[in-house]
């Protein structure tokens, strides 16, 4: 048998792919029940019509994360109050895959979708780091020449490096900081334009995350934090 804390710890590594934040921080995990040889986790989302593909990814990822916890046994993930709860819960429990869960409506699995959003999350995090350096007075030339080893260690930097690693991009100290999602270096004369688009991506992700939190609070009558 495992513990509730260990299960929650594992769920803390499951992210909403669109918002790039852990489902535990977002308030999506409502209950963890640890039993003999089995764990039951209940999830909720901000709206009844949240996109079924992201919902599926979170349920499937939660199952994999919990079952990887030593002693957890079988994981039952129950998504509640969603238009496709029944299909998703059954599909994930039976390991049908996404296409098997929605026969006729999906043409494949969700790897491509996940990749698109990992790239966006990477761009947004890179822009945030770059912007703080520019705000502190760094020139674009210096920024373009900056390597990962020059970064000061911290929570944001570690998360950024993790996103790079997920995309298969180099994370050693000699690697350049500013790269595109395919790993190509951003030259000094492209820094401004490249960050300008990444800024739009960051604003979009941050705004969506803040809105989803608000909708969850409204839906379930939770206390709301003051808007940022």
């Amino acid at each position: 048998m495992t513990t509730e804390a260990a299960v929650l710890g594992a769920l803390g590594h499951v992210r909403d792919p669109e918002l790039d934040e852990p489902i535990t921080d977002l308030g999506f995990v409502t209950d963890v029940e640890v039993g003999e040889g089995a764990v039951r986790v209940r999830l909720r989302l901000p709206t009844y019509f949240c996109a079924p593909n992201f919902a599926y990814l979170m349920v499937a990822d939660a199952r994999a994360a919990v079952e990887a916890v030593p002693g957890a046994g079988r994981a039952e993930i129950v998504l509640e109050d969603h238009h496709a709860s029944e299909e998703i819960n059954t599909g994930v429990a039976q390991g049908r895959g996404f296409a098997g869960t929605f026969p006729g409506e999906a043409t494949g699995e969700l790897d491509e979708l996940r990749l698109v959003f990992r790239r966006k999350a990477f761009l947004a995090r890179q822009e945030r780091l770059a912007r703080s350096l520019l705000d502190a007075g760094m020139t674009t030339e210096r920024l373009a020449a900056m390597r990962l080893g020059d970064l000061e260690d911290g929570d944001e930097v570690r998360k950024y490096l993790a996103r790079r690693a997920e995309l298969g991009l180099p994370v050693d100290g000699d690697a350049f900081l500013l790269v595109d999602p395919a790993g190509g270096r951003v030259p000094a004369d492209r820094v401004v334009a490249s960050l300008r688009f990444a800024q739009t991506v960051r604003i979009s992700i941050e705004g969506n995350a803040s809105f989803c939190r608000g909708m969850l609070a409204t839906r379930y009558g939770l206390p709301t934090a003051a808007p940022p």
């Binding site: 669109e18 709206t47 009844y48 019509f49 949240c50 996109a51 079924p52 593909n53 992201f54 238009h83 996404f98 296409a99 929605f102 006729g104 409506e105 999906a106 043409t107 494949g108 699995e109 969700l110 491509e112 979708l113 698109v116 959003f117 966006k120 912007r131 520019l134 705000d135 688009f197 800024q199 739009t200 991506v201 604003i203 979009s204 941050e206 705004g207 969506n208 803040s210 809105f211 608000g214 909708m215 609070a217 409204t218 839906r219 808007p227 940022p228």
Partner: protein, 342 residues
């Protein structure tokens, strides 16, 4: 019409509804879930004094609508954007025919838009042509995520979508309002994906594509497509209410859109009855973008606000603007997607 600090604004509400989501009209759990999701949007983003009881929100009256838009909400002309959802609601959520009742009663107050569904193929094409001729329709609202039987949506660049868009060109239906999410076909794609707007806008350059909700939650895709396609516009329904609860975010959204698309391609909308136009108009006219130093966001001048609140929509729909409304000067800085269509 709205007036503040000596400035006059002609107000076109680019996206509004007269819906019936009452329990009697709900066909199934999806109909109940849909309006309850809308109600959460309404409660989450409205100032408390504008929040309605749920029963009124499910079905409001003609008097409510006329009062809120035209007596207190400063709206000069409202554009009806039908949303059929006949798989969720017995008589539909908000059909062209339902909206037409008010259009016939108050012809000067409304623009009546229609809709088509390419999945109805040849038979639907004939019905669509009849609808356009019957009501003299100049625009359509397409809900590409609309469920129909087992289908969870369609794409704008499907062959049958192109057939319908050709029909739009032929009949003079030049404004194509596109609403994305929350599902899509196929389901493994990003549900809010705007990728199909791009080829459709390239192919049909005589049509205007107004992406509703400025593509939210895919603001970045909206901006990107907007820079490529001069006939792509952003409808601000759903983005507007952030002005109250998340003003900094609202400023960022508008700043990004002005930077990439420019002031000639954005349309104000309340999405009534999701939100009441009165507070949206008042707060928008008072609004200043508070950007951080690095972002260099464009300024929201009274001229820019006048375009967004009404003049841009008036241009797309050939609406007569009262002579007392000043005509704005040309923008000083060109947006990234600078080939704005006239």
């Amino acid at each position: 019409m709205y007036e503040k600090d000596g400035e006059k604004y002609f107000v076109v509400d680019g996206h509004m509804h007269f819906w019936d989501a009452s329990p009697a009209n709900q066909k199934n759990k999806y109909g109940a879930g849909f309006i309850s999701c809308f109600y959460d949007y309404h409660r989450n983003l409205s100032p408390p004094e504008y929040v309605w009881p749920q029963a009124k929100y499910e079905k409001y009256t003609e008097q409510d609508l006329m009062h809120d838009l035209f007596e207190t909400g400063y709206v000069d002309i409202g554009i009806f954007q039908p949303t059929y959802l006949t798989d969720f609601y017995v008589n539909g959520f908000n059909t062209t025919e339902q909206d037409a009742v008010l259009k016939e009663k108050y012809p000067d107050k409304f623009v009546l838009n229609g809709a088509f569904d390419p999945r109805l193929e040849e038979a639907g094409l004939k019905d669509f042509e009849e609808l356009v001729r019957r009501y003299n329709i100049k625009g359509v609202k397409l809900y590409t995520a609309e469920w129909r039987g087992d289908s969870r949506g369609y794409k704008l660049n499907d062959p049958w979508s192109y057939r319908y868009l050709e029909k739009c060109e032929e009949l003079g239906v030049k404004n194509i309002h596109v609403h994305k999410g929350p599902t899509i076909w196929p389901l493994d794609r990003d549900s809010f994906d705007l990728a199909d707007v791009d080829p459709a806008a390239t192919r049909f350059q005589g049509l205007n594509f107004i992406v509703e909700h400025v593509g939210l939650p895919r603001l970045e895709d909206m901006c990107w497509i907007g820079t490529q396609e001069p006939n792509v516009y952003g409808g601000l329904a759903v983005a507007m209410p952030f002005i109250y609860s998340r003003p900094k975010y609202f400023g960022s959204i508008v700043g990004e859109l002005l930077y990439w698309l420019g002031e000639d391609r954005l349309l104000f909308a309340s999405d009534y009855a999701l939100w009441h136009p009165k507070w949206l108009v008042e707060m928008f006219v008072d609004f200043k973008i508070e950007g951080d130093k690095a972002s260099e966001l464009p300024e929201l001048t009274p001229d820019v606000k006048r375009k967004i609140l009404g003049l841009n929509a008036a241009r797309l729909y050939d609406l007569e603007v009262p002579a007392e409304i000043p005509r704005p000067a040309e923008p000083e800085t060109e947006p990234v997607g600078s080939e704005t269509s006239a």
